[in-house]
């Protein structure tokens, strides 16, 4: 944009010199100071596998003109079966071996934090924890945002520090720790009156016990060994998002593309497309799809013939090469000035055939879906 004209600069400078024309008060950018949100999610997988119920509650409270307190609570109740390892089948085809269907697990996590609004800047600090019998996690996150070009550009940087400890139901005193450090930087940029885009880069460093204590691998020559992953993981992710309004159909389109790679040999890519439209009566609907694909980790095999020399082995279906196709949809209704209700659903078909390279098998294929209901209040 061209610099302010000399004429305008002169007039503005003279105006600023007039008494009482400019306020000394800080500019508060917080739009919805008091708010509360509660949601319930039902997640289930095909083939008598896991199902999860999640309840979440969030509240925000302004404490001064510039500070907003935020609190979160989340509770997961898991039941159903989970794959433990893959066993070679009689005809040479491996198959998954699941836990008994009676596994029942409950997790709770809380976090509190604050947001500070300072003119064109915004700072967020959060502290969270989750303390269970077999899992402890304490984390801190910080984020800074800066608005520039009359809020056409937003810069954001942040970091999160996780300290976790994991044991298992079977060996509760066998407590192993791990740390995770996340860093990200991103830019949101308005392109014109009806479109914008975002680019962000994230780096994650994990160190410690990164294996899954509930998983095993089948080794032909030896039998069953525990899941053993490297003690260090470095992951990079690049995400791009584009959102544009199309007046001809009074709808918005959003495309999100995300790529990641790490030092475990696991590379992934995701592409999500969404169509969003406002309907009369304060309804908002959206529908879209997501395509995902990943390669397998270096230490992954469906079934091992011999125990690898470096002691690293995993048959976890999440470390395999696979892809997925998902449908997602959402309906939101604004109720009066202060309340809104949202129903969302996503259904994802995991498919070995959509993989990026490496190894896996379609015996791991399943379908997951979730239904989420959220109630929001803002004052």
């Amino acid at each position: 944009m061209a610099a302010i004209s000399g004429k305008l600069a002169a007039l503005t400078a003279a105006a600023m010199a007039l008494p009482g024309v400019h306020t000394r008060a800080a500019d508060l950018t917080s739009p919805n100071p008091f708010s509360a949100e509660a949601s319930h999610l039902e997640y289930s997988e095909s083939g008598s596998r896991m199902s999860v119920r999640v309840n979440q509650a969030t509240g925000t409270l302004p404490v001064t003109d510039n500070v907003l307190l935020v609190g979160n609570y989340i509770q997961d109740v898991m039941s159903g079966a989970s794959p433990i390892f893959n066993a070679p089948g009689a005809g040479g085809d491996p198959h998954q071996v699941l836990t008994g269907a009676s596994v029942f697990d409950r997790r709770e996590a809380e976090d509190i934090g604050g947001v500070l609004f300072a003119g064109d800047n915004q700072f967020t600090l959060r502290q969270g924890w989750s303390l269970e019998n077999d899992y402890k996690s304490i984390w801190t996150s910080i984020e800074a945002r800066r608005f520039a070009n009359q809020k056409n550009t937003t810069f954001a940087v942040g970091a999160a520090f996780n300290d976790d400890g994991v044991s298992s139901h079977d060996a509760p005193h066998d407590y192993r720790t791990r740390i995770k450090r996340d860093f990200f930087a991103g830019v949101t940029q308005i392109i014109n009156e009806r479109s914008l885009f975002e680019v962000s880069l994230a780096y994650s460093y994990s160190n410690g016990y990164l294996s899954d204590p509930y998983k095993l691998v089948f080794v032909q020559s030896t039998g069953l060994l525990p899941d053993a992953r490297p003690s260090q993981r470095r992951q990079f992710a690049l995400t791009g998002k584009y959102l544009a309004y199309v007046p001809a159909i009074d709808s918005a389109f959003q495309v999100v593309e995300s790529l990641s790679t790490d030092n475990w040999g696991l590379r992934s890519g995701a592409l999500e497309v969404q169509w969003k439209k406002e309907l009369p009566g304060e309804w908002l609907v959206s529908a879209g799809g997501r395509l995902y694909s990943q390669s397998s980790a270096d230490f992954y095999k469906v079934v091992f013939q011999t125990a690898p020399g470096d002691g690293l082995h995993s048959s976890d279906y999440r470390m395999a090469a696979f892809g997925s196709m998902a449908w997602l949809a959402s309906v939101t209704k604004q109720i009066g000035r202060n309340f809104s209700v949202q129903f969302s659903a996503e259904r994802s078909y995991r498919r070995y055939s959509l993989r990026s390279g490496g190894t896996g098998f379609d015996g791991d294929d399943y379908l997951w879906s979730f239904y989420l209901a959220t109630l929001r209040a803002q004052f």
Partner: protein, 72 residues
């Protein structure tokens, strides 16, 4: 292939950055529409990210930011 996509993203981002106009506050009507909110509502975003993190091996990301979430 991944590197090519990564480079293409960076080039596209730079191209878009240079093509940007500065939209004045009174021109923000369209951008202020509910369908144009760039982030999902917080709890929705949290649930999506937790699900992807639990079921996939890649780094789940839906946009800028995130930070700690205490996910297993």
């Amino acid at each position: 292939m991944r590197r090519r996509i990564g480079v293409a993203t960076a080039v596209l981002a730079l191209a878009l950055l240079s093509a940007c106009a500065t939209v004045q506050p009174w021109e923000r009507g369209t951008l202020a529409k509910p369908v144009m909110s760039v982030d999902d509502p917080p709890q929705e975003k949290t649930q999506k990210l937790r699900t992807y993190k639990a079921k996939e091996g890649g780094a789940a990301a839906t946009g800028v930011g995130g930070g700690g979430c205490g996910c297993n």
